[in-house]
Symmetry: C2
Subunit: 409 residues, 2 copies
Amino acid sequence: MPVNLHPPRAEDLLPVRGVELGIAEAHIRKPNRKDLLLIRLAEGARVSGVFTQNSFRAAPVRVCQEHMAQGGQMRALLINTGCANAGTGEPGMRAARASCEAVAKLIGCAANQVLPFSTGVILEELPRDRIIAGLPACVADLKKDNWLAASQAIMTTDTVSKAVSRHVTLGGKEVTVTGIAKGAGMIAPNMATMLAFIATDAAVDYEVLDAMVTDAAERSFNCVTVDGDTSTNDSFMLIATGQADAKEITDTESPAFAALHGAIVDVATTLAQAIARDGEGATKFMTVKVERAASYDEAKSVARWIAQSPLVKTAFFACDPNLGRILAAIGNAGGAAMDASKIDVYLDDTLVSEYGGRAMTYNEADGQRIMKQPEIIIRVVLNRGTETATMWTCDYSYDYVKINADYRT
Amino acid sequence: MPVNLHPPRAEDLLPVRGVELGIAEAHIRKPNRKDLLLIRLAEGARVSGVFTQNSFRAAPVRVCQEHMAQGGQMRALLINTGCANAGTGEPGMRAARASCEAVAKLIGCAANQVLPFSTGVILEELPRDRIIAGLPACVADLKKDNWLAASQAIMTTDTVSKAVSRHVTLGGKEVTVTGIAKGAGMIAPNMATMLAFIATDAAVDYEVLDAMVTDAAERSFNCVTVDGDTSTNDSFMLIATGQADAKEITDTESPAFAALHGAIVDVATTLAQAIARDGEGATKFMTVKVERAASYDEAKSVARWIAQSPLVKTAFFACDPNLGRILAAIGNAGGAAMDASKIDVYLDDTLVSEYGGRAMTYNEADGQRIMKQPEIIIRVVLNRGTETATMWTCDYSYDYVKINADYRT
């Protein structure tokens, strides 16, 4: 059951000029569900992205990277759920390329102007014939106000689809940012089984767009972990169609950059948090904030150890303020170099640990009251420097095991 | 339910000359259970050890390290279960020291000739009065053939106690190696909530003993993971009493070193595997063997990523040959640098993956047959070099969550 996460409403999702979305039921893995999404982009749209760091990159990721390296203007993105087309060797590459060719033929562009994305079970062959057979229905369905159905068509073990929009004003002109994402398991820093697509009708220079997507990923999707595993298919794509009236952004120091980047980070963060809120079996949403670290890497490492610790996550599931597990996780991140006696730990605003032990002012009733909430902030103050990092995660429940033990059956 | 792990039998555990063990029910956390163990060493015994790398080292670990740094001859080890005396600040240090002083008074030695060890709940005060009150019963119980009861007195969430003995002949003289260990959760490389005590009546030079314990830890306890968490209390102590007739070992290149070290690694490995076999909620025991890596660190990293992946572990619980999760875990370890298409993966002797995909000769019926076994070998051949590493782990079941959500209640 997702934690404080509601299905998006169609009326909250703003169309982005230059972006049309078409959905089909292609029966890729299961009948009678939306499982194929085509995103068509107007001419002139620019696309940048970041991909999984896993050395087993899935075929669609490799084809995306090939097509993007060829430097052409992208005209379409094709996304299927049900099959990840990962660990499928050369036949998988051929299937991904064939899907792009089929899209190209239908919408009138070159195959390397199409980017393929797949999510679902790994090591099974992509049913390319069913995908290609589903494409005409996608094309027939293409429309601007189709973001809600698009967010639903890319779900796997997600229980709620993820989509969000923002308006932002650049030099007096209004532009829109709308994004969708999927992901609930195999979620870890550096992207996980996570697909996210954010589009804006602002005009953004290619290099600036690259900088924007890299930084936005670091501040959002790379701060989420469900199970510490990173998948073979993760992709976060940022699309700027340039169809709004606003002036092109060519400078990362400009006020327009700051405004648009802020809105994109806001959308990306909301989607990233939605992934943890809908983490497999989640009953709680936790924000782990590490402050006053000696370096950003140190802060992020401590936050990640806490957020990924199965012992911490099962304790939160049990509403058990088992501070020792949090301290042990901090200690694992710190190695021998960190002085445990200088660290303060808070649950929400309550100081629970200081001088390497239980805080004098802390009583367990306060801890239990906080632990019963659906959302909890774990704040760790290292008192070693000035850097801060945040991770979002969820607890580990019986259902986490159930979902992952039953996934293929 | 432990996987192919049976309780040790008293008659299989060989006394070690110069070592006496006494057990008491000190009511540290629960009534009517053995929870306090005193190990008395004959004069001249030498002790070496390795400790947790966690920066939140528990008070007893810090006191152990202090006492060992003072270079005296150790005369006793005191081990309690029920309370880890971790995250307890200065009062915890005082409680650990007071316990050592009480032992010293009873057996007639200095306090810094006593080493304290604690395991159990973190962040709760050590009930020093109950421990000290239990000591006379420990002393009264001291005897050489008490290893079975000793192994039982240090259990926490263990379902089976862990103890094993070996005979080995050094220069025609027989010596004995007997060890006990505890640990079932918060188990990860670099020691975990793991206590292990191995004693031999061989005579070993101090420096040689240090080399032996470090190397034995790396080959045994540091190859086990249950949940990726490392605890604040881990300690592995190696005792050489020198009470056998065999000549002192002073050289790590000698045949006697090789023979004794072999026996100690055998005992340590058996105990380490017992910990994974008795992992919290375990239904399967997995050996992850990574071969032909470019370096030992690379081999160990790949093995650890597989052994720690919750997705891999839940798939094994479900008897699901979900090879994709294994490949994804390898890919996480490898980063972008590793060529996935060169890696071969075997389940037992069956080739399941080659060229980055499913092996031509593999069929899922074989995979399912293998996955139904209680013990499975995952063998990964990287084809990048000559180095090998092994990790032992267990699966993730509903009971893992149950045990860890309920532990304090």
